[in-house]
């Protein structure tokens, strides 16, 4: 079964990745990143089960912690950008270019 889970996590991961590329709204991009993180957690858990050690789960646990921290800061940034720029579209913040 592990193979199945791995394939599923790969698919979810890629969907998340493509989502980041396609959507323009900052929050949706952020959600896609969360999706990618969850996909990796799934892979970790399935490996942990396969290997019979709990390390995989511990790593998944830590990934969640980091993801939480990241969300908090990310959303704060999005709020700040929104407040100053009145739009949450990622493409508007393109001053840093040639």
């Amino acid at each position: 079964m592990t193979g199945h889970y791995l394939v599923l996590s790969a698919i979810l991961f890629t969907i998340g990745g493509v989502g980041v590329l396609i959507r323009r709204n900052a929050i949706v991009i952020f959600m896609c990143v969360e999706l990618m993180l969850n996909a990796t957690n799934l892979a970790f858990v399935s490996f942990s089960r396969m290997h019979g050690t709990l390390d995989g789960q511990i790593i998944a646990f830590f990934v969640m912690v980091v993801a939480a921290a990241e969300v908090v800061v990310g959303l704060a940034i999005i709020m700040a950008i929104f407040r100053s720029r009145k739009s949450s579209s990622v493409d508007d913040a393109n001053l840093l270019k040639y």
């Binding site: 929050i27 949706v28 990241e70 800061v73 959303l75």
Partner: protein, 280 residues
């Protein structure tokens, strides 16, 4: 893929769950990136997360499943919804792609990536799943995890705690806005109001027979729309049509009402004038 299928043949129940939820989660994920309204994406993400929680449970990680449900979906996703509410629930965005060739390239990259991964997993010879029975044996999964965290990964644990604190602090700093001017006292507000040209309260929003929404502008005696009747915050958010205005924009609807009102009033005037002629 042959190795994988053989291993999972005997847990039929598990594979059933797997296939059902796998399809559900992939569909939800696709939905999340394709649906226009942000709130719907958030909810679809919740679906994916919950299905993952079930997967954790199936993979003998009950503690993680619960954490996933409570912490991740419960807190983090709700935080998302909270921000979506503040930022722009109705800011439906146009799906027109601005960067040339971005979609095509994204698709190509995605497919290539997933193809390569699957190719890799396919070729990898995965050993049989030994299961976590003995790992969880001494007091179950949580104790096992705890034992591991506080021995092998104790430093990582402390670091993550520090990380969380800094993240919280960071969020506060970013979101906090320094008050530049002193907070006006009640007295100052009233004096300003008297000094301003409008002492009376602002006109309430228009209420008509079939709808009394807050963002419906009131009408002035001459039939024009009164701007002050709708609060600026809501006015700013008004995009698109108002559902129960039969697809018309609020201003259009208001004008429509005004014309009918005027028609009624003029007819009343004609009637009165005919009456006066008769009396003459």
């Amino acid at each position: 893929m042959s190795g994988v299928v053989a291993a999972g043949a005997h847990q039929t129940g598990e594979s059933v769950i797997f296939w059902v939820l796998a399809v559900a989660s992939v569909a939800a994920a696709l939905g999340m990136i394709l649906v226009r309204k942000v709130v719907y994406s958030a909810l679809l993400l919740a679906v994916v997360m919950l299905s993952l929680a079930v997967f954790y449970a199936v993979n003998e990680a009950p503690f993680l499943a619960f954490v996933q449900v409570i912490v991740y979906t419960g807190a983090v996703l709700m935080l998302f919804l909270f921000v979506v509410m503040v930022v722009g629930v109705s800011s439906t965005e146009s799906m027109v792609e601005t960067i040339r060739g971005q979609r095509v390239a994204a698709a190509v990259a995605g497919i290539a990536f997933v193809a390569l991964l699957i190719l890799g997993f396919g070729h990898a010879t995965l050993p049989a799943t030994t299961g976590l029975k003995d790992a969880n044996a001494a007091g179950g999964n949580v104790l096992g995890l705890a034992r591991l965290i506080f021995t092998k990964y104790v430093f990582a644990f402390e670091v993550t705690s520090a990380l969380l604190i800094t993240a919280a602090l960071g969020a506060m700093v970013l979101a906090h806005r320094e008050r530049i001017t002193p907070k006006p006292t009640q007295r100052q507000l009233s004096e300003a109001r008297i000094r301003s040209d409008r002492v009376s309260p602002l006109p309430p929003p228009g209420t008509y027979a079939r709808h009394n929404a807050v963002d419906m502008p009131a009408l002035l005696p001459d039939g024009t729309v009164s701007e002050l009747s709708v609060s600026p915050v809501i006015a700013r958010r008004r995009g698109g049509t108002h559902e129960d205005l039969h697809g018309e924009l609020p201003e259009v609807a208001a004008k429509h009402e005004a014309t009918t009102l005027r028609a009624v009033v003029e007819r009343q005037v004609e009637v009165d004038s005919k009456v006066e002629e008769k009396e003459k």
